[in-house]
Amino acid sequence: MTDAALVHVQKERRSRWMLLTPALVVLFIAASGPLLIVMLYSFLTAGPYGGVEWSFSIDGWFSVLLQRDFFSEELTFADAHLSIFWRSVKLSLLTAVITFLIGFPTAYFIATRPKRQRDIWMLLIIIPFWTNLLIRTFAIMELIRAEGTVNLVLLWLGIIDTPIQMLFTEFAVLFGMAYVYLPLMVLPIYASLERLDFRLVEAGYDLYATRWQVLKRIIFPLAKPGVIAGSILVFVPSLGAYVTPRVLGGGKQLMLGNLIELQFGQGRNWPLGAALSLTLLAIVMIALFVYVRAAGTEENGHG
């Protein structure tokens, strides 16, 4: 290469970087800025009326899992926090499982409709998603409260004689989250099923696979990328869900999101809130890591 050409290439490379710089700066600040602030706050001292005081302390992190007995100064696990962690993880996992169990057949049904019908079905799935979350959550409340539609119908049918208490239970939270996040499961599964070559299904039948075997050995493995994406899309926001447990759990079935909100509000313990936020982030990352690893190795084991 001649010197002139070399200079030209270098120049081009430099100008490309310069053009990218604004975007990179924004990305860097937007992605890590808030995170750094939260990280910083988690190591400060709580102010008496909220906010933080600028002195180093690990009390925030300390209180995530442990608590000091008020009188004896004895260290014990923070049972309340642990049970909230556990409920958050459990409900989020269950939400992912339930949305999968409902979402997979739904996506399959839509993907096997004639092309023109599919868009209509997809629209029906997406419309609730465009509706305000609060409105949807209150609608569910209306459905399942003691004098709500479900209880009234059951009473009228004579199946029960006193209303079932559904609102403010874990069931209510689960029901609400599954309903709210269902589209996030259906969409990616539909995307991978729509690309599926249904001649492969015929080839499966041709080679003596029953419907169930075709589903298990052919359709499901080929839809797996969609299932993985859907599970992540449902699990991650479920873990930090705030509105649904607040409204349908009635302050009794707290999840991590509510606990964090509590620290920044009534609890006036911002460092603890910040530490809890980062704990949530850590749980999400660990869960994703484990999940993606497991999903990946299974595939390798097969192929």
């Binding site: 015929e202 080839a203 039948y205 041709d206 080679l207 003596y208 075997q213 493995p221 080929l222 192929g303």
Partner: protein
């Protein structure tokens, strides 16, 4: 034995229904190599799909060894398909693809391993057993599709253009392999191809199809030498069509009839079939004559006369294009012999001679 009886398949369309199969009937014997031949879109794949169970016919029935095949779902039919589109499972390796059918039949593990190894060997894919199907070439995919369909040893194997993506040499090898395999396993082959040469060399019998109907069924020889109608004569090989007048039927059961050609000369030609010969009435008919069945002679000895229009050298043989006196072009083919010298040149007057029984009257 597979019996296809009056099978019709109509695909409903938005404006207009489309009849892909219009009353197809045929019988395929056990261990027969039966070929479906026809132009694109004539319904070959559709017929295979009906037999395999992916399409349910609008009417008609399909019997396997006398039992109704249509009552069974595709996964219970002892029929395997080599798909035109291969349809290999992209999430499985070559070996896993081949093992799939055997696994579904719950064969013992050791047997599966052995059969898969044999099949890989047969289609020469052993070195690529562990590759993903997306990492092999089109021809290799076709071979895997073949191995996958053969592995469970079905009673009937449906092959939808299984060799079309292979190069000439490999195709010849695979043709021989297929024939050998078919003889060895006793599997009935129903084979679809576009390649007439392949159809003629490999088949026990051929069904020529057009626009959803079967036009003629017969051995390669019958199909080539005695095409029953213009479509078949035209579709298989090259053919000259000339018009003539039917003047008499020989009553000797030879299936020969007498016709008068354009120049007024009479000759003997084949009737569409020997039992039809006696039922034919005099009048204008169309004759089909293969290019290699006529002989180029001096003008006075010819039954048909004309002027040599073109001479095309093809290596193994030479094509002579003759402009007949009554209009129309006749193409004649002669094998080249060593030392033979052609003293004919374009523009010369020539004659065409036909042996007794050369030429075939076509059904209208």
């Amino acid at each position: 034995m597979i019996e296809v009886i009056g099978v019709t398949k109509v695909f409903p369309g938005p404006d207009m229904d489309f009849t892909a199969l219009g009353g197809v009937s045929l019988t395929v014997q056990d261990n027969e190599f039966f070929t479906l031949l026809g132009p694109s879109g004539c319904g070959k794949t559709t017929l295979l799909r009906v037999i395999a169970g992916f399409e349910y016919p609008t009417s008609g029935s399909v019997l396997l060894d006398g039992k109704d095949l249509l009552a069974q779902p595709p996964y219970r039919r002892p029929v395997n398909t080599v798909f035109q589109s291969y349809a290999l499972f992209p999430h499985m390796s070559v070996a896993e693809n081949i093992a799939f059918g055997l696994e579904m039949l719950n064969k013992p593990k050791a047997e599966i391993r052995k059969t898969v190894a044999d099949m890989l060997d047969l289609v020469r894919m052993t070195p690529m057993a562990d590759r993903k199907t997306s990492e092999i070439s089109g021809g290799q995919q076709q071979r895997v599709a073949l191995a996958r369909a053969l592995a469970p040893r079905p009673k009937v194997l449906l092959l939808d253009e299984p060799l079309s993506a292979l190069d000439y040499k490999l195709r010849k090898d695979m043709q021989l392999e297929l024939k050998r395999l078919q003889a060895e396993t006793g599997i009935t082959f129903i084979f679809v191809t576009h390649d007439q040469e392949e159809a003629l060399t490999m088949s026990d019998r051929i069904a020529v199809m057009n626009a959803g109907t079967v036009r003629q069924i017969g051995s390669p020889r019958e199909i080539y030498d005695q095409p029953s109608e213009r479509f078949v004569a035209d579709f298989i090989g090259e053919t000259n069509f000339i018009t003539a007048d039917l003047v008499g039927v020989e009553g000797d059961g030879s299936g020969l009839v007498r016709v008068r050609l354009a120049g007024g000369v009479e000759t003997h030609v084949q009737a569409p079939s020997s039992d039809l010969a006696s039922a034919m009435s005099n009048g204008p008919v169309t004759l089909a004559i293969r290019p290699e069945h006529a002989i180029l002679v001096d003008e006075p000895q010819g039954l048909l006369k004309g002027a040599l229009e073109n001479v095309v050298y093809f290596g193994t043989d030479t094509h002579f294009h003759v402009a007949l006196d009554d209009g129309g072009l006749f193409v004649l083919r002669q094998q080249n012999q060593p030392g033979q010298r052609s003293d004919m040149s374009v523009g010369d007057r020539v004659g065409l001679s036909l042996g007794r029984g050369v030429g075939q009257i076509l059904r209208d």
